[in-house]
Amino acid sequence: MKPISSEEAALRGPPGVGGALLLTRTSLLAANAAVASMFLTAYVALEWVSFIHEYKGVPVTPWNPGLGVVFALMVFVGSRGAFVLFTGVVTAEIFVLQSKLEWPIVIGVGALTSLSYALVAAVARRHLHLDVGLIHLRDVLVLLAVGLAGAAIDTILLAAFLLVFGQLDMRDVVWASAPLLVGDIIGIAVMTPLLLRFVFRRREIVPRRLLSLAPEGVLYVAMIGAALSAIVGSESLHGFRLFYLLFVPVVLAAVRHGLDGACLSLAVTQFGLIGLLHLSGYDARAFTEFQTLMLVLTATGLIVGVVVSERQSSDRLAREAEARLKEKEAGAAQAARFNLVSGMASALAHEINQPMTAARALARSAQHILRTSGGDVTRADSNLTTMIAHIDHAAGVVRRMRDFLRRGRPHVSTIDTRSMLEEALTLVRAEASANQVHVELDASDDLPAVHGDRIQLEQVLLNLVRNAIEAITGAGQSEGYIRVVARRLAAPPRVEIGVLDNGPGVDDQLANHLFDPLATSKEEGLGLGLPICVSIVESHGGRVWLHSRDAGATEFRFSLPLDQSEVP
């Protein structure tokens, strides 16, 4: 066996079998030896189970499940698996078949068999890049093809070898080769995918899920059992005609559970078929004919299974990608909100400072009145009432800011459009007035409610208004003016919200890249504001556009559909 090499990963490969990751050299070797002996035992045991008779030295078994098992090891860990096969063939020949062949012939048979399969396994691994997870149709086809090639090569080599050494004559070759070929192929086709899917892949086993699948499994087994007894119970010719019945449970399992379903149902069918045929005393010729039919069933089942698996996994991948994208978008939107608010922080501090100033002055007034004997208590009371209103106002600013920042995941609700617009404008008004920009809301009375994430939609408006403020102050204009216009429109029913400013307009160069990430006209912007607006509005089924880029009447607009079905 090759020493530890770059294939160390492969050595550790058979996790379900070899056990834990063993890091030291000796324990690694010990683990490998354990795996090898387990497979050897499995091979010999299966050989014993499936052995029926020998025809002039060639083990005529109706199928070769042991080969399928060891072939799985070979495509999984590489050619080293050939040693297991060689040892297995020789051991089985001597102890199970109790072959009367001389030992050099036995060794020759073992060597040729292991060589043939080592060759095709290496080709599959190195040149055809077989993915042992059998995720794609291609991998299943490659596996079937190399199994077929291996069986063919092995059959030809063995026939030639036995002919040369006089163990067979020409007449016997076809008689012996056909069952060998079919038996080997069916062994690989049924057992190798089963092992690769269930033994070599470390999977999480969820007992609850297994339990939920149990009734369905019982149903398939019952169907397979019924079909098999119908086939085997009837007369020979009739039985072949009824073989199609087996397609029903296998294809059903493949369609419902993909490749895993196909592998399991095929294994059950195969073992059941062999067992029943054996019990009913069919002869070897009938076995081979059944096995040929079984091969067709196996190929069909595996192909349907893998195609279904492929589609299921691509569906799942698409769903996962979509979920990740959504999460990322929510994260980006939140980051942009922080950016937005940190830009507004000084204005917001001012916004809170004003009610604080008023509240403090009123508190001192009330205190002064109350400390003066015969003071006007009514006046003090009215001062305190006004003071509470100011404190509430400050608290409102803090709460809105906190709400605005905190929300990560979108939260869809029915939103009163006007109040949403007003709330967003209160957040930005402080900054506007600090920059001597006048902000005005012009919302028509028939504004309907919209469905969506309130905070995100406020963010869109805030972004557009802030951009307008920055454009105005950036141009050094003394009289800034922003008008937020909201209208209900028909065909398609929607709300359109426009942000108009009398800033310097948008130049040609910027207009082309306006909605690209990182395109910014500002010195300290991230350039993510508009792309995030676009992503938010589009996730609400609407769109954002530059309605007018003229100086003095620049307008950005976004639309929100009213048709509820368009809202995510």
């Binding site: 000084s346 004003q354 604080m356 509240a359 002055a361 001192r364 009145i369 106002h393």
Partner: protein
């Protein structure tokens, strides 16, 4: 003595009203304005006196510009500036412009009242000074040209004899002029007369 008025100027109604209420509870006479421009248009009058309390950041004329504008118009109203965006450059600009004080929002009333009182006290002093100056000018105006001539010579240190010789008058006539001058100027001594002459700018101090 005219009424001392506190003019509170802030574009934020809540702040304007609350500060106004507080100062009025403290006993000041208060008027509030929503902008420096309104204040300059409506309230400015040479005879008004008191103290302005103004926000720095306001639409239109801002607080610092207001202090400069009052200076340009030679209106001696002290200004206490308040701001929610207080930073060092702003405070420096405020004091340089001639503001009485610069106070951060939320306003500490002790600091505000102290600044207002300081400003008003200085106003009172200045008003006293101006009044006595005016009174002196009036007294001086009552002198005849001959008396003015003799006033100037007396404060320059000439004796009655020297003045008599200089003006070709008798010493007795000079003495009587001197007595009339001292009476009109309400000066008890030549020393007082000299101080008055300095204040009137007739001689260098």
């Amino acid at each position: 003595m005219p009424v001392q008025t506190i003019f509170v100027i802030d574009d934020h109604e809540s702040v304007r009203d609350a500060l106004g209420e507080m100062l009025s509870v403290f006993g000041f006479t208060v008027e509030t304005y929503d902008s420096a421009d309104t204040f300059l248009l409506q309230a400015i009058d040479q005879r008004r006196s008191g103290c302005v309390v103004a926000d720095v950041r306001m639409p239109g004329t801002d607080g610092i510009e207001l202090v400069r504008e009052l200076g340009r118009r030679k209106i001696a109203l002290p200004v206490v500036l308040i701001s929610g965006h207080a930073d060092v450059p702003m405070a420096v600009a405020a004091i340089k412009s001639g503001a009485e004080d610069f106070i951060e929002k939320p306003v500490d009333d002790t600091q505000l009242v102290a600044a207002i009182n300081r400003a008003l006290a200085r106003t009172f002093e200045q008003q006293d000074l101006r009044k006595s100056q005016e009174a002196l000018g009036l007294k001086f105006a009552r002198l005849t040209p001959r008396q003015v001539e003799i006033f100037d010579l007396v404060v320059q240190g000439f004796t009655s004899h020297a003045i008599a010789a200089k003006l070709n008058l008798s010493v007795r006539t000079v003495e009587s002029y001197r007595a009339e001058i001292m009476e009109k100027m309400q000066a008890e001594s030549v020393a007082v007369l000299v101080r008055q002459a300095i204040r009137l700018g007739r001689i260098a101090p």
